[in-house]
Amino acid sequence: MSLALTAAVDERDLDLELEVGDGEVVALLGPNGAGKSTVLALVAGLLRPDRGRITLAGRTLTDVGAGHTRTFVAPHARRIALLAQDPLLFPHLDVTDNVAFGPRSRGRSRADAARTAATWLDRVGATELADRRPAQLSGGQAQRVAIARALAAEPDLLLLDEPMAALDVAVAPALRQMLKRVLSGQSALVVTHDVLDALLLADRVYVLDGGRVVETGPSRHVLAQPRSAFAARVAGLNLVAGRWREGSVHSSSGLRVAGLAVGEKPAEGAWVAAIFRPASVGVFREPPGGSPRNALPVTVTDLEPRGDLIRVHGVDLMADVTPQAVADLGLAPGDRVLFSVKATDVTVYTS
């Protein structure tokens, strides 16, 4: 049931290639407007690319090129189910009929479809909701039922569009655990903003930005050693990408960050990425003296409380400092400051 996609959508400046292996769960990460939802729409058959080809389990679903459509399978015939942020349970059907909708639509008998529905409701832990109407469910319950409904359709591929985003923080962990359980063996493509979703649910991630794949690899690997600014941000790390010269990373925006290279020493002029934690960053008004520290000029864009610390946001970088430090410096958005980080706290990866 593997998916292969190559597609370009000119209007949204999207041009990318991606794959989902048989039984693999793949996460799509990326900032708003990166093209994640467009990818789902392309795969689901809700959008026709300007050029491209999508195949699933050996079947060609979309094949468009040179200004004409060779193949375009209708959404209902793709065997691809879509689970959105909003559960969208049919309000006029009870929970069982909602879950039985997929099997019924494929021509299964009423009794058979009801049995399938009962099985899936059991697997998502929603058996006791079977006779309720969608209006009588909480957000978390409704999303459980929506997951059961999507899986009961027995899709070759399941698309999940930020399945946890609309939920209470309190119910998300339980739902994530359940999702991990029911997704095992199911090919799935998950759009998410949440690093935990990517880590726990997905085997592999694609990081999209500006309609292109900027990074891909096993989830743990990408999130532990992010090479794109977005992956670093979702992983809660600072990232400065640039060329390696004389033990420092030189970014195109003029930043220079010295750090310790991981593994083999990068070649002079090679593309590398420096990564450091916000907690390792100190904020100063004047260049600090003493030990060999990196001093990066930053304009403060925002101050955000995070537990006992305050996160100081710059355009691309962030620092976690104490409220005392913020008060002493009199920090406010718009201030020009220096982010200081020890070279030993900076890890450099070869891109």
Binding site: H76, A84, F90, S105
Partner: protein, 261 residues
Amino acid sequence: MARHQRQVGLPRWLFVPAAAGALFVVLPLVAIVARVDWPDFLTLVTSESSLEALKLSLRTSAASTVLCVLLGVPMAVLLARTSFRGQGLVRSLVLLPLVLPPVVGGIALLYTFGRRGLLGESLEVLGIQIAFSTTAVVLAQTFVALPFLVVSLEGALRTGGERYEVVAATLGAPPTTVFRRVTLPLVLPGLVSGAVLSFARALGEFGATITFAGSLQGVTRTLPLEIYLQRETDADAAVALSLVLVVVAVLVIGLARGRAT
């Protein structure tokens, strides 16, 4: 649910024209009620010609409502769910009978289905005569009532959006299944209130009917035509029958509002 509470006061003088407007609508109704010859009311509304007109009205209005649903639902769905060149123009044309004087509609129908009409001549060959028959009454009523159904259903379809239909399709439902099991049930309240409005409009139809169908007792003389005719000879009967139509209209509005909320 938060109750809407105004923080800013309204100008007091606004109440005067508003009250005048309400009075303007209600007063004529009161006038009818006041003018009704109550002791003879039952006799008046149950005279042979009255009963025949009432029955004909109900029968033809029901038939034209069914026609409106059969033709109007597909029209509303296509207008709400597709986009094509000239869609705006099509929508305006479909809604034209709303603003067209009914008598003009009647003349238009006459030159379409009448003996010398666009289709009438071919129908004549087949031995079908439409003008001045009960069928003509139904067509005239459908012509003026159809836009009501299309407008209210298209509105309901647009408000509801397409999201449930997309989900249904990704669950493997072919278009006909989506239409039958998702689209229609979700807009049922809109469809019912549209049908009720169409029925009411058909019941009140006068101008197109008298032009296209004439006024033959028991065949084409519906209640509004009967009222108009009686007014010349027996004003009391006209008033009594008018009250019957007022009551029906009030019931219809109550029904439509009940569905909407």
